[in-house]
Structures are given as structure tokens and as C-alpha cells.
């Protein structure tokens, strides 16, 4: 008996099989190819009378965390003129699918997103509905000039910001009291504080750099804001300066100063795990956005406090990172006017107040009429911080794009692993950044 093909493999089958393999290996192309400008809508029946269509509004949301998600649903429950359907999608998927949503013939009417360059790039493609009217006579008319600036592309507004949050060095009040230390304002005091904590056997700083190490960019952003200022930082992220420059080298020199003070396990933690050693009093401070307060246990919430990253050069105007969230309306929506009306409702003082009270993480309102007196002391202090600062940026990826963020993650992680190779790392970073900007 020969041992011929118990599995039936012949050359002919093989060729057919390999052709099939071609399909599975490159199937990703099909996803994109189907979403071209000529693509037919994949969902939606297109039915309904004009009156029904005018009542229906689809809200595509990336608020996947339980608190904000429920808060948004509650706020939307107050809309009476429209039947609003909320589709919640995980942020990473939302981000990847966003171009597809917006180019679809029946795009969702109103979508959650981030203010700034990431929204403007869609406005540039003509995919967003002009909401300037809301800034002239709607709820957004009372928003600050800084917010209006952030929402404007080519003289028109395409974004309605509804809340924002801030980044700072978070710590526990009781731990600082126990160690006999307090918040500092200058870099020398800060280095002294780090030394002091380390000699007590406490890890002065934590962060979460496992998996995608985007957290490493928080310190880069802040050190650049403190060393070179917000204007330089924005221009750097827009490709107008080189990462391989003396200015950025000065930033990395400061970064190198603080590297020895990080808890060594920060490399293996995700952003959530990095809060745990502070909860256990084994570490002191964490430079993070307010969303992270949810990572600490319930009974420590009132114990949390923060201070701003200390000043390095007093001649540089102060700046803070305050990522701004809000809503945009799709140009291809079935009911863009309805979407605009819902965005206007969400921007109202009452809706913002309700959202911030119900969402667990501390958010700040964009509407000046929101009564902040009832908000927690932490939020009050956050408002004070942002009102007192000269300039506001958002975050590395929001001020540039996700691909440039990828080059930052690579460069900063290499730097954290081998701070001595800074020259090579910055040269490579600039090469990678040029590739991103050339597209």
C-alpha cells in the first residue's frame, strides 16, 4: 500500500487552495475597497416618510466606559423633538471606522469626537456639516474664544465642544501628609521632592507604558511646554520644526533627569495598573488625565489631589493640556439639521450640567452658564487651573495625528530603554515624522 494522500493533496487542489489563501491573507483590502465614494450604503433601509426621517437622529458614540455612557443616555433621554438612537462603539474601532462612517451615503447624523486637528482633517475633506449657526445664535455662542478657535476650520465651525478635562500630577493628600511633603512649583523643588521620596523608599513617579506606550508622550508634551512653550510645541507637532533639534534635545535632557525616579515596573503596567502603587502608598505621583481618577478605589476618591507640572523656565508662558471632547455632524447624514439640533441640545448648560454630574470622571463644562458650585473640590480646582493658564494644548495625538503619535511612542520607548542613544533616536524620530508629514 503506498501512502498516497490520505488528505487528498494534489497539485490541482494545491493551486485552488493557494488562491483561497490569497483571499484570506489580503481580505483587509476588501474592507477599504468597499467604502469608496461610489459605495452603496450597507445599512439603513432608506425608507420612511420625510417627516419620519426628520425625527430620526443617529448618534454614533465612542463613550464606552459605563459612567459617561449612561450619562449620555440619560441626557439624550431629555430630547423631545427627535427620536435619538445611540450606537456605542469601542474607541479603537470607532477611530478606525470613522472615515467609513462619514463617507457612507447614510452617515450617522451626529458623532462624538475630539476637537482640533483630527476633526479639521475631516472638515477639509468636506465630510462635516457646517455648524457655524450654533456659534452665532445657538448654545455655543457663549463659549470662549479659545474653544471657538479650536473648532474652526477655514473660517467656519465644524465642531461643538461640550466638555474637557485636564492633565496634572495626581497624588494622594494623606500620603503626602504622612511623608511630610507638599506640592511644588519650580523644577528645583520638584527634583528635591523626587529625591526626598526616593530616600524614603517610595517610588516618586509611576506611569503605565505596557502595550502601546502612548503614556510616555504625556511627559514629553509637558516638558516641551515647560522648556519651549506651547507655540513651539504646536509647530513641532505640525511639522514646522525638527525633532532632531537643540530644542527637543533640551526636552529630552529634562526627561533623562526624571527617568531614574519612575517605578521600574511602569514599563510593564498599563495606564490603569499604574494607579495601584499610589493607592497602596508605594508610589507618590502620576502624570495623567482626569479620566484616571476612576482607577483609584471609591474610598480614596476624596483623597486625590493634583498639582501642575512645575515651571522650568519662568519666561515661558504657562500652558496645560486640556483635551476637548464634543460632537460633529456628518455632511452625508440623512438628517443633518436634526443632528445639528441634537448637538446644540448637548451643548446647552443644562445638558452639560447633567452629563458632568452623572459621568464618573471629572469633566469640565464648556458652557459658561453651568453652575459649578455643586461640583467636587477636585473639579473646582481643575477649573481654577485651566482658567489661570496662558495657553492650552490637547495631547500629542490630538494636536497632530495618530500616526505621528506612533513615531513618538517608538522614539520615547527607545529613549526610556537607552537614554544615552538620544542623538540616534531623535534623528530616527525626525526621519519617521517626515514620512508621516509627506503623505
Amino acid at each position: 500500500m503506498n501512502h498516497s494522500s490520505p488528505f487528498g493533496i494534489t497539485r490541482r487542489n494545491l493551486l485552488l487552495g493557494s488562491a483561497g489563501l490569497a483571499g484570506s491573507a489580503v481580505l483587509t483590502g476588501c474592507v477599504g475597497a468597499g467604502a469608496g465614494p461610489a459605495a452603496q450604503p450597507s445599512t439603513g433601509t432608506g425608507g420612511g416618510t420625510p417627516a419620519e426621517v426628520a425625527r430620526e437622529v443617529v448618534l454614533q458614540s465612542n463613550m464606552q466606559d459605563a459612567g459617561p455612557r449612561q450619562a449620555l443616555a440619560d441626557v439624550i433621554g431629555g430630547v423631545s423633538d427627535f427620536d435619538v438612537t445611540i450606537n456605542t462603539v469601542a474607541t479603537s474601532q470607532f477611530r478606525a471606522q470613522l472615515p467609513t462612517y462619514l463617507t457612507s451615503n447614510q452617515a450617522p447624523d451626529v458623532l462624538t469626537w475630539y476637537a482640533g486637528s483630527v476633526t479639521n482633517s475631516f472638515a477639509e475633506e468636506g465630510l462635516l456639516y457646517d455648524v457655524s449657526e450654533l456659534w452665532e445664535s445657538g448654545n455655543a455662542s457663549g463659549f470662549s474664544d479659545a474653544l471657538k478657535d479650536l473648532s474652526t476650520y477655514d473660517g467656519r465651525q465644524y465642531f461643538v465642544p461640550t466638555n474637557y478635562y485636564w492633565w496634572a500630577l495626581f497624588h494622594r493628600t494623606s500620603s503626602f501628609e504622612e511623608w511630610g511633603v507638599s506640592a511644588v512649583e519650580t523644577w528645583d523643588e520638584f527634583m528635591g521632592l523626587l529625591d526626598n521620596l526616593q530616600t524614603r523608599g517610595v517610588a516618586p513617579l509611576t506611569t503605565g507604558l505596557a502595550n502601546n506606550a502612548w503614556m510616555a508622550a504625556a511627559w514629553f508634551d509637558y516638558l516641551d511646554l515647560r522648556v519651549n512653550g506651547a507655540d513651539f510645541h504646536r509647530e513641532l507637532l505640525a511639522g514646522q520644526h525638527s525633532f532632531n533639534s537643540d530644542e527637543v534635545r533640551a526636552v529630552m535632557a529634562r526627561y533623562a533627569e526624571i527617568l531614574p525616579y519612575f517605578h521600574p515596573d511602569s514599563l510593564s503596567w498599563d495606564p490603569q495598573q499604574a494607579a495601584a502603587p499610589i493607592a497602596r502608598n508605594e508610589a507618590a505621583m502620576y502624570l495623567v488625565g482626569t479620566f484616571a481618577t476612576a482607577y483609584w478605589p471609591e474610598d480614596q476618591q476624596s483623597d486625590l489631589d493634583f498639582f501642575s507640572v512645575p515651571t522650568i523656565d519662568p519666561s515661558i508662558p504657562s500652558a496645560e493640556e486640556a483635551p476637548t471632547d464634543g460632537f460633529m455632524v456628518a455632511a452625508n447624514a440623512r438628517n443633518p439639521e436634526g443632528g445639528k439640533a441634537v448637538a446644540d441640545y448637548l451643548a446647552s448648560a443644562a445638558a452639560q450640567q447633567e452629563f458632568i454630574e452623572k459621568a464618573v470622571s471629572p469633566n469640565l463644562p464648556t458652557h459658561p452658564d453651568v453652575d459649578t458650585a455643586g461640583f467636587s473640590p477636585l473639579i473646582q480646582k481643575g477649573l481654577e487651573l485651566l482658567n489661570g493658564t496662558d495657553q492650552i494644548t490637547q495631547f500629542f495625538n490630538r494636536d497632530s495625528n495618530d500616526e505621528l503619535q506612533g513615531t513618538a511612542d517608538t522614539a520615547l520607548m527607545r529613549f526610556i530603554n537607552a537614554p544615552g542613544d538620544v542623538d540616534v533616536i531623535l534623528a530616527d524620530w525626525q526621519t519617521a515624522a517626515e514620512q508621516v508629514f509627506s503623505q
Binding site: M1, N2, H3, S4, S5, P6, F7, I9, T10, R11, L14, S18, A19, G20, L21, A22, G23, S24, A25, V26, L27, T28, G29, C30, G32, A33, A35, G36, P37, S92, R95, A96, P99, T100, L102, T103, F122, E125, L127, L209, A210, N211, N212, A213, P264, D265, L267, S268, D402, E403, G406, D409, T410, A411, M413, R414, N417, D428, Q435, Q439
Partner: protein
């Protein structure tokens, strides 16, 4: 003793009466052609068309919005100059040999060891196969805990006095890929074992007995008598292993996301990052085409050689 009297010959008389040639020559009714055309159309639409699209996309630059711009071979030129792509390609080569080699050697050794009738052998087989029923993503999460700074691996090293070997396995660029590889092999080895066990069950024990009577030692019996009978299984395992190693994505994505600084990036994770994090669909398609070419290269060379060897045997 041997109960496997060749079934082929037993079935032959009844089957043999029907003249084979005439059946092949008989006209196929149109309705059969129709039924064949339906799956062909489905296959063309769902498999070949997207595949061709991907080849086309790889010669364009497209951000998912608007019209794709043709750029000729620019994406492939960019690949050649891209240090992350080079790292990913090299990692993928390491991965094919590491993942394929370790799981095949381990699976074969376990299959041979557990092919003998012993007490609790069923329990062992089940336990070794068990990881296979867990999804790659869950395997990755589980091993992340195993490799955590205060996790079982580091604690065990401390316990046996090898504390100086403790490290952050997934955060250290020198160990990250290897650490993920171990987790992937841990899951794959049971699968390969089961395939080899099935192959070993199909081997004719009388041949081995005859070789033993002729004075062949265990080593010779295994390589000269058993292995040739496993040729068919080997072909299947080779194909499965190469395909599995080239499409490995989830476990790396869950455990390291290609990090730290792209040192554990594979072609598949890099393709995903380019396509869905950065929405460079043209460039990502070029990476997909490279993956496809690699898979075809491996599989065609090996399986075509196997097929020729089998045809020569006939």
C-alpha cells in the same frame, strides 16, 4: 495483533465492477454545472475580488476617505526603507522557525510519548490539548499575568535562587518576542500533538514489529518505519504551521502590541497598525501582499515537492 487488514482491497470488488473511465466521460447534466457555478460565483465575489482589490490597493495611497491615488511601486519602495518593516520581517522569519519548529518538535515528542497505552494517558492528552480550546486573545491575557513583574515566572526564579534572571519579560526588548513565542507554542503544541496522534494511530504496527524482529532499534524504527508513514500528516502540519505562524496576530497584539518600540512587531501586527490605527490602507495592503507572497513561497515549494514525490510513488 494487526486488525487493520487493508480496507481498500476489501472495498475494491464492489467498487471495481463499475468501469471507471466511462463514468468520467459521461455527460454532466446542466443542473450540476449550475450548482457548481453558484459556489464559484460566491467564491469569486467574496474571495478573489477582494484579494485582487488588495493587490490594486497596494499600488495606491488611500486614507479611507476620497479616491485612492495610484502611486505605482512607491509603497514597496517605502517598505524597503522602513526599519520597522525590516524588524517585523526578521521577527516573522524567527517566528516561523521558532513557532513552527518548537510546536512540531514538541507536538511530535508528546504524541510519541502518549501513543503508548499507559495509566492516565487520556488525562495527559486532554490536559495538553486543553490550551487549544482557549482563544489566542485569552491565552495572551493569561500569559501577561504569568510574565507580570510580580508574577509566577519571576517568583519561581526567585524561589529557586535565580533571582538575578528576573526581568520584565514583555517590556524588555530582548525578551519580549521570545516570551510571546513561548505562550503561542504552549497553545499550539497540543494541537500538533493531536494531529500526530491521529497519524500514529493510522500507522501499521505490524511493520514496526517486523522491523524489530529484523533487529532495528527504536530510533531506526521511528525514523525509517514510522516517519515515512506520517508523510501525509507532515504535509498537513507543515501547511497549518506556516499559515498559523504567518497569520499570528492576536497573541502578539494582546501581549505587547508589537512593543516595546516595535521590537516584537510581526508583519501581521504592523499591517494592522498601518491599516487600522493609521488608516494607511495602501501601505498596509503592500504589507499584506508581502505576507501573501511569503505564505505562497513556503507552501508551494514544500507541498509541490510533496505532491511530486507522491506522484513518483504511484
Amino acid at each position: 495483533m494487526s486488525t487493520s487488514a487493508p480496507p481498500a482491497t476489501a472495498a475494491a470488488p464492489g467498487e471495481g465492477r463499475r468501469p471507471r473511465r466511462s463514468r468520467l466521460g459521461r455527460r454532466v447534466p446542466p443542473v450540476v454545472w449550475f450548482f457548481l457555478l453558484v459556489p464559484l460565483a460566491v467564491e469569486l465575489f467574496w474571495v478573489f475580488w477582494p484579494a485582487l482589490n488588495s493587490f490594486w490597493l497596494s499600488t495606491t495611497t488611500w486614507g479611507g476617505v476620497g479616491v485612492a491615488e495610484p502611486v505605482g511601486t512607491a509603497n514597496y519602495e517605502r517598505l524597503l526603507a522602513d526599519p520597522i518593516f525590516r524588524t517585523a520581517l526578521w521577527n516573522n522569519v524567527l517566528w516561523v522557525f521558532g513557532f513552527g519548529g518548537l510546536s512540531v518538535v514538541g507536538g511530535l515528542a508528546l504524541a510519541v510519548a502518549l501513543n503508548q497505552p499507559r495509566r492516565f494517558v487520556g488525562v495527559y492528552r486532554t490536559v495538553i490539548f486543553l490550551p487549544m480550546v482557549i482563544s489566542m486573545a485569552v491565552t495572551g491575557l493569561f500569559w501577561r499575568i504569568v510574565y507580570a513583574p510580580g508574577g509566577p515566572v519571576n517568583n519561581t526564579l526567585e524561589l529557586v535562587g535565580l533571582g538575578h534572571l528576573q526581568q520584565q519579560w514583555l517590556a524588555n526588548p530582548d525578551t519580549a518576542l521570545g516570551a510571546v513565542l513561548v505562550a503561542a507554542v504552549w497553545r499550539q503544541v497540543g494541537y500538533i500533538m493531536v494531529l500526530y496522534l491521529a497519524g500514529l494511530k493510522g500507522c501499521d504496527p505490524s511493520l514496526e514489529e517486523a522491523a524489530a524482529v529484523d533487529g532495528a532499534n527504536a530510533w531506526q524504527r521511528f525514523w525509517r518505519v514510522v516517519m515515512p508513514q506520517l508523510a501525509g500528516v507532515n504535509t498537513v502540519i507543515f501547511a497549518i504551521t506556516v499559515i498559523d505562524s504567518l497569520r499570528t496576530f492576536d497573541i502578539v497584539w494582546v501581549m505587547t502590541r508589537g512593543g516595546p518600540f516595535n521590537q516584537s512587531q510581526l508583519l501581521s501586527t504592523y499591517m494592522f497598525e498601518q491599516a487600522f490605527s493609521y488608516v494607511n490602507l495602501g501601505y498596509a495592503s503592500a504589507i499584506a501582499v508581502v505576507i501573501f507572497a511569503l505564505a505562497i513561497l513556503f507552501i508551494i515549494t514544500y507541498v509541490a515537492r510533496q505532491a511530486r514525490a507522491e506522484e513518483d510513488d504511484l
